[in-house]
């Protein structure tokens, strides 16, 4: 039984922790996209650090674009485009708390529940600094955001 309202077919989801500088880049991108004029069929969400609670938002979509900080050992501000097959879930370390559920684990849990999260594209940005700092981005990551937005819009056919 569902009591929620119908979802828009395209989801743009920015995730990350805005308390930890560049770790929050996905959320910063989502906020800027929310200020833009996007088609009616597009929903832009700040995923923050919701973990498993993201599942409800990810299911029943025709297209998902996720923006997050991604470490690929390239210089700060480097941009990645990943799909489901690029995101591997390894053997987990022991969780000390459920606040530690990360995006790959959310995807793995979706698989287990039979929730289809595809087609999904992840646009990632290489962070430089993930220390404490509310709503702060390093210049390298800040400079990457316009291009990230371009890429996101391209993914949704804009």
């Amino acid at each position: 039984m569902s009591i929620s309202s119908p979802k828009k077919p395209i989801l743009i989801l920015g995730v990350g922790n805005t308390l930890l500088k560049d770790e929050g880049v996905g959320v910063h991108v989502a906020r800027r996209l929310q200020d833009m004029d996007l088609p009616e069929n597009v929903e832009v969400l700040e995923g923050g650090v919701l973990g498993l609670d993201l599942l409800d938002h990810l299911e029943e979509r025709e297209k998902i674009v996720v923006v997050d900080a991604v470490d690929g050992d390239v210089g700060p501000g480097a941009i990645y485009r990943l799909t489901r097959k690029d995101i591997e879930v390894g053997n987990t370390r022991c969780l000390t708390s459920l606040h530690e559920i990360d995006l790959p684990q959310v995807f793995a849990t979706a698989d287990l529940m039979g929730i289809k999260i595809e087609p999904m594209v992840l646009i990632g940005v290489q962070p430089k600094d993930m220390s404490m700092g509310y709503d702060e981005l390093t210049p390298e990551v800040e400079a990457a955001i316009p291009r990230v937005i371009e890429l996101v819009l391209k993914e949704i056919g804009q």
Binding site: M1, I3, S4, L19, L20, L50, L52, D53, L55, D56, D71, V89, G90, N91, T92, R93, C94, L95, T96, S97, L98, H99, E100, I101, P104, Q105, A108, T109, D111, L112, M113, G114, P127, M130, S131, M132
Partner: protein, 601 residues
């Protein structure tokens, strides 16, 4: 000081927001409309149930359950392996005992399926939170004067659908399949192993072979299904038998004679045993007289030490501070002149001042569902025995597993004979002639798991009553009063208390009476009560104490420690936020986020 303790409040999914809401409530009188209280209680109740579901299935159960052993091809995170085994590891049977693929009953596959179902049930709980709180988590439906949503028949009806009707006309006593009450079950499921309901597990992608594991049981049942294979944890994980609760669900039980009208009472209890004037088994009648051993909790008796914490008090490590005088000055380095050992925790050591306590002047208390249930008289050592026989009654035994037929423990019982399990494992400490040389006190790891589920059952059923009260008297009612800021509303010092799902949560605040601005704000969260380091008297916190008797067979796979530690529901992100960039960064770097913390307690 202004006592905010009689102001009704409950809160949504960010309990610290709620404590802050309380501060801005008028502390002297409770002028929040009853409808506002009830809406808060419904929102908060849905959060408690969701939190307990997630704790058991998605965090703690995996310490007992090796999902890779289910025969379902699940061998990746977040499920497994958490620890070991390595190929050929002889400790394997010791680590994981729940029967899996190839066994006559594949309990592992069954419990793995329940893991998935619990994810769906959690969503139903969050839908209730969303219905009443605007969204979930991080609900927005709470105001200093009550709650913002109006009470609609539609919301009441939809909540009933999720709780027990299930689109199939279920009732609170006979809930429909797929509903919250159905999944939680009743405490009598603890011993009623045959009480497995037909479900729709066939629809789940993880269920491989029909007939292999196609059951849908209840959460109550699942706790015992896991516990039956690990009975020594009824004797392990004990802390101090000191339980503390601030109380919650302000108008949740109008008949509660123990403590105002709360569903869950405020108080302390210094023993795991049944209250001596308590009659019956479960539930303790809400209108029972105040329990003989119940003790009050006074805010002026809460103090903190930083002796073994990475903080300073007045530039040093000594002394105790009440939260109103609290100081949070981080000091990650060793403090010159401090005794030989350095601080070893980012958590302070909250203690309760009680000169009459035999433990000493500063008493470590544990908080959480077990503490709430103990204080409230809803849980005590031996309750599982009392509930034990099929269908209820006295004299329960472990229903399945290698200890089938063995009596469930009662207060003072010695540990079981585990020799059958540990054959060939070599000598183990704490094993007396008959088993663990410990006595059962009702404060063990398994008691924490069991009490958490009993609380879940109690709250979910109370929600049914809250909906009835809302429907009977409050549809369309005002749920909040308006508060106007002003100097006459300021108090130089105030505090707010409530319960997070994981335990007693308090905020203390000092205010500048001229400007109305906050001068000092200190949180004492449940995870610090439970996980605190040794205080200045050298007394360990409850979780550290609870590890004292735990024997770790394989130091590389310390599952025994996890089973004890996870019996609390720590929010380490609340207690302290420590990020080590050894995985994603080039060099090790530590970032410190000190309390008060922004999340959930």
């Amino acid at each position: 000081m202004a006592a905010a303790n009689n102001v009704g409040f409950a809160y949504g999914f960010n309990v610290h927001d709620e404590d802050a809401t309380l501060h801005s409530s008028r502390p002297d009188t409770d002028d929040i409309p009853e409808a506002g209280h009830l809406v808060r209680d419904v929102i908060y109740g849905s959060n408690f149930v969701a939190s307990h579901l997630v704790h058991f299935y998605h965090l703690a159960a995996l310490d007992f359950l090796d999902v890779a052993n289910a025969g379902l091809g699940l061998n990746k995170g977040p499920f497994c392996p958490r620890y070991g085994p390595n190929p050929g590891d002889v400790t394997y049977p010791y680590h994981y005992r729940i029967p899996g693929a190839g066994a006559p009953v594949n309990v592992t596959a069954y419990l793995t399926a329940q893991y998935v179902i619990a994810l769906k049930l959690r969503r139903l709980c969050n839908q209730i939170g969303g219905l009443w709180g605007g969204r979930a988590p991080f609900i927005q439906g709470l105001t200093p004067g009550g709650a913002s949503p109006s009470v609609s028949q539609d919301a009441i009806d939809k909540t009933r659908e999720l709780l027990y009707e299930g689109g199939a006309g279920g009732t609170p006593t006979a809930p429909a399949a797929g509903t919250i009450l159905k999944f939680i079950g009743t405490p009598f499921d603890f011993a009623n192993f045959v009480n497995i309901e037909g479900g729709d597990l066939n629809k789940l992608p993880i269920v491989g072979t029909p007939g292999d594991s196609v059951y849908a049981g209840t959460m109550m049942f699942d706790v015992v299904a896991a516990a039956c294979f690990y009975p020594e944890y009824f004797w392990l994980g004990n802390a101090y038998e000191r339980f503390l609760a601030y109380g919650v669900f302000e108008k949740g039980d109008l008949a509660n004679a123990i403590d105002d009208n709360r569903l869950l009472s405020r108080g302390r209890k210094n023993t795991g045993a049944k209250y001596s004037n308590q009659t019956g088994v479960l539930p303790a009648a809400f209108s029972d007289p105040k329990p003989t051993e119940w003790q009050s909790v006074l805010q002026q008796n809460v103090f903190e030490s930083v002796y073994n914490s990475h903080y300073l008090y007045n530039g040093g490590k000594g002394g105790w501070k009440h939260p109103l005088q609290g100081e949070t000055t981080p000091e990650p380095r060793r403090v010159p002149g401090h005794p030989t050992h350095p601080a070893y925790s980012w958590i302070k050591s909250p203690r309760y001042k009680d000169a009459s306590d035999s433990l000493g002047p500063a008493v470590p208390y544990e908080a959480g569902p077990l503490a709430r249930m103990q204080v409230n008289g809803d849980y005590y050592a031996g309750i599982l025995y009392d509930l034990g026989a099929v269908g209820g009654g006295v004299g329960g035994t472990i229903p399945i597993g290698p200890f089938a037929g063995v009596a469930l423990p009662q207060y003072g019982d010695p540990g079981p004979d585990l020799s059958a399990i540990f054959t060939g494992m070599g000598a183990m400490p704490n094993l007396g002639p008959g088993g663990y040389n410990l006595t059962y006190t009702g404060g063990s790891s398994l008691d924490r798991y069991a009490a958490r589920q009993i609380e879940c059952w109690k709250i979910a059923n109370a929600m049914v009553g809250w909906l009835d009260r809302l429907e009977a008297s409050h549809v369309g009612a005002v749920t909040s009063i308006t508060r106007t800021p002003g100097a006459d509303k300021y108090y130089p010092s105030s505090y707010g208390w409530t319960e997070a799902p994981r335990g007693a949560l308090g905020h203390w605040m000092k205010t500048n009476m001229t400007t109305g601005k906050i001068q000092n704000y200190q949180c004492v969260v449940p995870s610090t009560w439970n996980a605190s380091p040794r205080d200045s008297y050298g007394v360990p916190g409850p979780a550290e104490k609870a590890m004292e008797d735990v024997f770790v067979k394989d130091i590389n796979n310390p599952l025994e420690i996890l089973r004890v530690i996870h019996s609390w529901d720590f929010c380490m992100a609340c207690a302290v936020h420590l990020v080590k960039k050894n995985g994603r960064g080039k060099k090790e770097e530590t970032t410190i986020h000190i309390d008060p913390a922004p999340t959930c307690g």
